[in-house]
């Protein structure tokens, strides 16, 4: 169905189910329980899961299929974001033009950077992309001529007096919120069942729709003859060129596609929260998507989404656990024991959330070669095989 094999269709439907039910699944703990701190089912984080999921899916089309490791994809995320804010400022507060234009702008930029960088391979390619992205970052942050368009280090925001030529002027004295034909992205309704509280947010479902489309396209690309060609680039570039095929157009196409995914992610970020910060272009942002992809599983279809989810979860949930919260959790213990537990756990949460993140990177890659999905699949296979042999 839809040109997908049965397995792929099941995978797609599985992801669809997860996306639809996420507001419930991510809030498993009752509001009054101490564990509610670990609930991730609020709009901002759920949107981030999907947006970075898109970013990572796109990145995986380049890295997972062709093996070309770009360290410059942040430039496309940032360019997409700036383009989207400008659309919201100049054209209309409706998010559709913003999302489309952000994808196109990132596509054009990735065509230029990709065309030049793909003249080299391996680490030389990686450093070229890194250098381009760092130049874009520095230009957007500090180079006078460029900062007129990017707002410099403060970032670019919508303002009350923006022209927005397609919209009628705001009468409320407030900056209009990004919307889809009047449906504001921040609108939600909440459903409370007993002690559980679930938030269903308009922006989240817009992101969900876009991600399902993006995921579908990624599956189709992976399974297509074009995808096969990309895999051939990875497994043996040299032999491919001996057959008379020039691999460069294929790799460039993959580069541009993944750049457009990054731009799309940037555009969606702006649609959910109309600000483009310059650090979206920094090498750390490029590195983050690399880490997401590897963490989830390079070359697997669903892995990057999980990798993105894990990193964003740590960043947003673990960083908010503070000392007094820990004292509440362990308040049932005798005083000395309570202090001991708090002292042991505190370095790993709150201001120490990076430590937990770093440790989890190491643990995943040590114990699950191939990332979360890759590692778990091979683990599952090994166990399955063993039990089969035993039979």
């Amino acid at each position: 169905m839809f040109g997908l094999s049965r397995g792929d269709l099941l995978l797609w439907l599985f992801v669809l189910l997860l996306v639809l039910a996420a507001p419930i699944l991510l809030n498993p703990f009752p509001e009054s329980s101490a564990l509610a701190q670990f609930n991730g089912g609020y709009p901002d984080l759920m949107q981030r899961f999907l947006i970075f999921g898109i970013f990572a899916i796109g990145f995986n089309i380049l890295f997972g299929l062709t093996g070309y490791l770009s360290f410059g994809h942040a430039a496309f995320l940032g360019a997409g974001s700036y383009a989207a804010v400008w659309m919201l400022k100049l054209l209309t507060i409706n998010v559709i033009p913003a999302i489309i234009v952000s994808t196109l702008v990132a596509g054009i930029l990735s065509l230029i950077i990709g065309y030049i960088s793909l003249r080299r391979s391996g680490i030389y390619f990686s450093i070229l992309t890194l250098a381009f992205a760092q130049m874009s970052f520095a230009a957007a942050a500090s180079v006078g001529f460029v900062t007129q368009f990017t707002g410099g280090e403060t970032g670019l925001q919508t303002a009350l007096n923006d022209p927005r030529i397609l919209d009628t002027a705001s009468t409320t004295g407030n900056i209009p919120a990004p919307s889809l034909f009047g449906l504001e992205m921040r609108d939600s309704f909440q459903w409370s069942v007993g002690d559980w509280l679930w938030t269903f947010n308009a922006g989240y479902y817009v992101c969900g729709f876009v991600m399902m489309v993006a995921f579908y396209i990624a599956i189709r690309i992976t399974r297509s003859p074009f995808g096969m060609m990309l895999k051939a680039v990875k497994s043996n570039n040299e032999r491919l060129s001996y057959t008379g095929i020039n691999p460069k157009p294929y790799t460039l196409a993959a580069f541009v596609i993944s750049g457009m995914y990054a731009g799309l992610a940037g555009g969606l970020m702006v649609a959910m929260d109309p600000l483009a910060g310059v650090e979206r272009m920094q090498w750390t942002a490029s590195g983050e998507v690399v880490l997401m992809t590897i963490l989830g599983g390079v070359g697997t279809l669903i892995g990057p989404i999980f990798g993105a989810g894990l990193i964003k979860y740590f960043e947003n949930i673990f960083s908010k656990i503070n000392e007094s919260l820990l004292h509440q959790w362990f308040a049932f213990l005798p005083d000395g024991v309570e202090d001991f537990f708090v002292a042991v756990i505190y370095p790993f949460v709150g201001k120490g959330w990076h430590l937990t993140l770093g440790l989890s990177f190491m643990l995943v890659v040590i114990f699950l070669p191939g990332g979360m999905v890759g590692g778990l699949t091979s683990l599952y296979r090994r166990i399955f095989k063993k039990s089969k042999q035993a039979n």
């Binding site: 009752p30 509001e31 009054s32 329980s33 101490a34 509610a36 609930n39 609020y42 709009p43 901002d44 984080l45 981030r48 520095a138 942050a141 500090s142 410099g152 280090e153 403060t154 970032g155 925001q157 009350l160 007096n161 409320t172 004295g173 407030n174 900056i175 921040r186 609108d187 939600s188 309704f189 909440q190 459903w191 409370s192 069942v193 007993g194 002690d195 509280l197 938030t199 929260d273 109309p274 600000l275 910060g277 310059v278 650090e279 979206r280 960043e315 947003n316 960083s319 908010k320 503070n322 007094s324 004292h327 509440q328 308040a331 005083d335 309570e338 709150g350 201001k351 959330w353 990076h354």
Partner: protein, 449 residues
């Protein structure tokens, strides 16, 4: 501290409140559908508590400053809930605060990490608003973050009480109806510093500016330049340095040959520590130029920066929002309260954050509501005293506090590890006041979500 006492100081979670609320309304059975728009204002506290969001840098170079802000917030919450010695609540000119929380609701708080990045700071603030029901967001250690989070709070409909942010833009070009700043700004630093510099170094000086290449750097350079040039100084050059620069040698090396006799470092945090260290290495502090002693000036000082730069700050002028060695009743009460709890004196970042929390709570009490619009109205044009900076006005036109500014100097013979700066002059507020319209921007109208 006994366990009983400790626990009583811990805030209740919002969840326990919600549970109580939910049980009362829905009896825990029937599913309820609530549109998020069905409220008088966003995150209206319905239970017996009110949640504040403390959004401070906890990772990255400003993490220590963020940690100090957090200490101040925790202290403020303790005092608002009636714990501790009450700190500056006793010296505050308004006596609306009762020590029973805010409007009788116990104060709880959530914390988050801004990472000193506008994006991350907004994500953190959004999670506080969406997940934890925070009704006010405060904190931060850079103007980029302040402007970004202020914008978010305006859009979402909660109050933003800025932490440490010194750029003119926060209450200038980028001011917002829901945002309020107690901290001083670049303009005030320039206006306060210039006369002191002229008095100490003379009026025929030639300055060389090194300016961090971002918004705060520009406004600070502008402010110091304008006010020193008005007193007769000349400017030899102003060079922008990349924000990510770590080694400033190539910017410092040409300074002495440029004909300048003062170096002004419009740098903050690590930038300032590194550029000042380089400047001292290159012998600028002992140099002679134009027949005068070469001097270095750092427009914005913080104790953590002074600590990082060590011996190099000795004798170097700068400005600061507040310093723990101030002798007024408010400052003394705050230093005592903070010092007793944590063992060292508070920084200026801690001070402004503590004050902002008290001012917010007081405005709620006076307005009789947590509604951001009511609170905003109560803050606008509010005049107060006893919070460490002398008589202060929260100006209605731009939501900026106007108060005396401290000109300080790196201390030559510190008596202890905190005794790094000494106050040279308390510049009266009249000298640093400016017209609200000079920086452009518009407040818009308040948004209650």
């Amino acid at each position: 501290m006994s366990s009983e006492k400790k626990r009583s100081q811990l805030p209740l979670t919002r969840r326990s409140v919600l549970k109580a609320g939910a049980a009362g309304i829905a009896a825990g059975t029937a599913p309820m559908i609530i549109s998020t728009k069905a409220h008088a204002y966003l995150n209206e506290p319905k239970g017996s508590s009110v949640t504040l969001g403390f959004n401070v840098p906890q990772s990255g170079p400003y993490a220590d400053e963020g940690a100090d802000e957090l200490r101040a917030y925790e202290l403020a919450v303790e005092h608002l809930n009636g714990g501790g010695d009450g700190g500056m609540m006793g010296t505050f000119s308004s006596d609306a605060l009762q020590g029973n929380g805010i409007l009788g609701k116990k104060v709880e708080y959530v914390t988050g990490d801004t990472q000193t990045k506008p994006d991350a700071a907004r994500a953190s603030a959004r999670s506080m608003i969406e997940k934890d029901g925070a009704i006010m967001i405060t904190g931060g250690s850079s103007s980029g973050v302040a402007v970004a989070v202020q914008g978010l709070c305006q859009e979402a409909g909660v109050i933003f009480m800025a932490g440490l942010t010194h750029s003119n833009d926060t209450t200038g070009k980028d001011k917002k109806a829901n945002g309020f700043r107690h901290f001083f700004n670049s303009y005030m630093s320039g206006a306060a510093l210039a006369p002191i510099l002229a008095a100490n170094y003379g009026e025929d000086r030639v300055a060389y500016h090194l300016t961090a290449d971002y918004n705060w750097g520009y406004t600070t350079e502008e402010a110091v330049r304008t006010s020193t040039e008005a007193l007769g100084w000349k400017t030899a050059a102003a060079v922008k340095t990349p924000l990510a620069q770590t080694d400033f040698s190539s910017y410092i090396a040409p300074v002495q040959a440029s004909g300048a006799d003062v170096l002004i470092l419009n740098h903050y945090g690590a930038n300032m520590v590194n550029s000042l260290t380089s400047a001292v290495q290159f012998g600028l502090r002992n140099a002679q130029s134009n027949g005068k002693n070469f001097e270095i000036v750092v427009p914005l000082y913080s104790r953590l920066m002074a600590k990082g730069a060590g011996e190099n700050v000795k004798g170097i002028f700068g400005s600061t929002n507040w310093h723990w060695s101030l002798e007024d009743e408010g400052s003394k009460a705050f230093v005592k309260s903070f010092g007793t709890k944590y063992g060292f004196p508070p920084s200026q970042a801690a001070h402004t954050c503590y004050v902002q929390t008290l001012l917010y709570a007081d405005a709620c009490e006076r307005a009789g509501t947590h509604d951001p619009c009511g609170v905003g109205e109560a803050l606008e044009g509010f005049e107060f005293d006893g919070l460490g900076n002398g008589p202060t006005l929260y100006r209605a036109e731009d939501h900026q506090c106007f108060k005396d500014v401290l000109v300080v100097k790196g201390k030559e013979n510190p008596e202890n590890e905190f005794d790094l700066l000494e106050i040279v002059e308390v510049t009266p507020v009249s000298q640093v006041t400016y017209d609200a319209s000079i920086f452009g921007g518009e407040l818009g109208t308040c948004n209650a979500g």
